[in-house]
Symmetry: C2
Subunit: 501 residues, 2 copies
């Protein structure tokens, strides 16, 4: 006799049911309470609610999205369905469409179809193997962890039907002329693959049910049961979060990052005496600018995009280096995003959101003058975010950059290193000249006082985010000529490699 295998779906095949009378009694108070919770959420405005709706066809996914819009105030709900990719979406990493649809703090976002859809469907149709699926799931877990760490409340509903009930449901939808339109060819095809989908879904749900964002499996056959379950679950989760004085996670449990006991850090080993004299510089500048220009006109350049990140302390020469690049490129092909304080709309989102929105389309270059590394540099050193927040940023950033690499984005990251003395010299030089735009502010001087803290942060950053896909190029920037040529050369080589692939 074969041992009976327990399934996580069994509890959702018990034939849950709520009778009409009980339902009618309970709904009015539930709706009121939901509206109240939604009002409090909008007032507090300190976290978003993200509701994912997934599951078996015919189990009430669409009805649930509609129900929540009916029971709550639809003016503060963003319902998003993710169908075919638009061309603006297909030219960017897959997650871009989900990032752009994230609800801001204080609002509810309903995701109908989500980052789970593609991994499950592709695996069910045999387009991907087990390892690819596992890899996707790991990424998803980290992504959701990031969202909850940023304060989001994530509710993941999975609507389940047993095979028999699914058949029954689809046939009854088909029999009714009013609902027949809702049964698509895809539904029928999926029904044939029921067992396959069930097996994969179970695997997916198990691997992605985390402490922060557990799956909630709901038997989908009886609408009353389904509706009450979803409504109460949403209510309870929102109430619990609203009652927490501060939704932020606990302090970091990570051991403190320590500078090497011999104080030997990569950035201290650089040879800052490297120089290029003017004649050689001008010859090389022309050479590499010409090469860069030709590369951006390579027919294969249309299939890739380039992101260039500049980081470096004040007066390290970021602006001048950027101009040496842009002079070589047609102005219609690049955009530059200088990173200053986030706007109100950006503050209402996870910190990476403001960078995702500037991911370039194919055939374009996006230059960041300072970047997402602010979190592990200035925000860390100045105490603008908690240790927990900047500690988790290293892996969040690595995930972000890996997604870029996978989408044929060439990411080139430069750290411009100068000595403390050279910075002082440049500060003083700037104070002599009259151009307002080069004025040294009190803040610049204050940052300088924290030189050692910044150096430690930079070392950690380079150690923890120099990956195969997105290595850092540390630039000896004491001599501007040397730095600019090294930057142009590196950039050319990276693009050459990409168009040769």
């Amino acid at each position: 006799m074969q041992a009976e295998k327990q399934s996580m779906f069994e509890s959702a095949e018990l034939g849950h049911k709520i009778d009409k009378k009980t339902y009618k009694e309970q709904v009015p108070a539930l709706r009121e309470a939901l509206l109240d919770a939604q009002f409090d959420l909008a007032q507090a405005g300190n976290f978003p609610v993200i509701i994912l709706i997934g599951g078996v066809d015919g189990a009430g996914k669409g009805e649930t999205a509609n129900l929540l819009n009916e029971w709550m105030d639809p003016r503060h709900i963003h319902t998003q369905a993710f169908g075919a990719l638009s061309d603006e979406e297909s030219e960017r990493p897959l997650m871009w469409r989900f990032w752009r649809a994230l609800p801001p703090k204080g609002k509810v976002g309903i995701y109908f179809g989500s980052w789970y859809t593609e991994p499950i469907v592709k695996r069910a149709y045999g387009e991907t193997d087990k390892e690819t699926l596992s890899y996707s799931l790991e990424e998803i877990v980290r992504f959701e962890k990031m969202l909850t760490d940023e304060g989001a409340l994530i509710l993941k509903f999975w609507f389940h039907l047993s095979k028999e009930k699914q058949k029954e449901r689809i046939h009854s939808l088909e029999d009714n002329p009013k609902t027949r339109w809702r049964v698509t060819e895809i539904d029928k095809r999926h029904l044939k693959l029921y067992d396959k989908f069930r097996e994969i879904s179970e695997h997916v749900l198990r691997d992605t049910s985390t402490a922060e964002a557990p799956w909630i499996i709901v038997e989908g056959f009886d609408a009353n049961y389904r509706n009450l379950t979803v409504g109460k679950q949403v209510l309870q989760a929102m109430r619990k979060r609203l009652e927490q004085h501060d939704g932020r996670p606990l302090a970091s449990a990570a051991p403190p990052l320590m500078t090497p006991v011999d104080n030997l850090q990569l950035i201290n080993t650089l040879d800052l005496s490297l120089k290029l004299d003017k004649t050689i510089y001008e010859r090389k500048l022309e050479k590499y600018q010409g090469r860069l220009n030709i590369l951006t006109r390579d027919p294969k350049f249309k299939d890739i995009s380039v992101i260039i990140v500049f980081e470096g302390l004040d007066a390290a020469g970021k602006g001048g280096s950027i101009r040496r690049i842009t002079h070589a490129i047609d102005a219609r092909m690049f955009s530059i995003t200088p990173i200053a304080a986030p706007t109100e709309e950006e503050r209402a989102q996870p910190y990476l959101w403001r960078f995702w929105r500037h991911i370039p389309r194919r055939g374009r270059l996006a230059i960041f003058d300072r970047s997402w590394y602010g979190r592990v540099l200035v925000e860390r050193v100045e105490g603008l975010c908690s240790e927990y927040d900047w500690m988790r940023a290293y892996s969040e950033i690595n995930d972000f950059e890996e997604q870029q690499a996978r989408n044929d984005i060439v990411l080139v990251k430069f750290w411009l290193q100068i000595s403390k003395e050279e910075q002082l010299r440049r500060f003083e030089e700037r104070q002599q000249i009259s151009f307002k735009r080069f004025k040294i502010t009190d803040e610049d001087w204050r940052n300088r006082e924290k030189w050692d803290d910044y150096q430690a942060a930079v070392s950690d950053m380079i150690d923890r985010t120099s990956t195969l896909h997105a290595p850092w190029t540390v630039v000896e920037a004491e001599d501007k000529n040397f730095a600019r040529i090294k930057i142009l050369k590196t950039l050319c080589e990276r693009i050459e490699q990409a168009v040769a692939d």
Copy 2:
């Protein structure tokens, strides 16, 4: 002997030239001054600079965009080229792509290709007639007037070459292997149509050279002349605007709007006693919600989109009416935008920008809970903008809505009218109930004191913005049942008409 016809291009065919020495002498100071002006612009942050680049092929359009990026700080310039439409763009009114690319206050936007490209090219290829062109130009003039009224500095450069010089230029580009790539088949085709393009361009430039945004025609053959001209022109215009203490236009010269001397206004003639009893209401509600649901699933619905605007005083019943609509529609098809105070990013743009960004794609409905009419209602009554600003808003809104109609957007606008007594009754009723979200605030009571001012503003609004394409539906909202059915019925009829077309 034929009389010689003077052309506006003649001054740009004189063979303007700047010798190398003069150029080299003048450029450094000019660049410094431009950088200074750009810095002051960023500091002031109270207007954007929009630079349009148009003209004859081979006259230096691309070079000029690059030059400005080279001479100024490219980090604060957004250079935009407008090529083929993306699918997200092609599903919306033509101007959407330009709106989304507008530079915020404090920045410079370079438009390479602009709202002039399509009208000129289509006319040159004979795809449109003279009248269509004229109509487009009138729209453009009003659009640019709106931008300048909103504070924008617009510089429109037209680069010109005589026919002989254009041939010469294109041949010399072709002869050089390094520049051959820049000559496209389109350029050659345009050369053949030189005379046609010249004639049409002259017409376009003449009709769109306004006091606020005149064309600047630049002979494009000599790069030194061209560069110095553009650089100095940009500098002077920015300096002039920066030195004006307040860039806003003068007070409105319009005669004051007067209420009819007999005090008879449309909204006072409404029969507010209209009612529906509960049984009839419920029957009709079911009927129209069903009809609406079927309409949104009509195959032709995929080719249109719907915008629904709700306006009405506090407690007029907007929220309840919206819910009666959304209950009938799949949540994945609609979005609701409640209009509250604009965000920081929205405040850095013309006032219509925040509505343009919510224009729906095909097959979708966008519902606005309050709308762009805020400018002629609350902003007018509360003195939040100048008389000049709200006076010009009527025609700006009409233009906006006409563009929607032309793009197969069904725009349905509801004004919900209640009596002063009924508002008081609803306010008092709300004070009795415990739901926080219905709390009447001091502001609500204050607004109520200005009842007559609001009624006058509403009357003017309806008179001035009820157009053939976008008529107002004034709803007798004293009885909620009556109002909701009238709204649903009107909406159904408008969509029916659109899918039948």
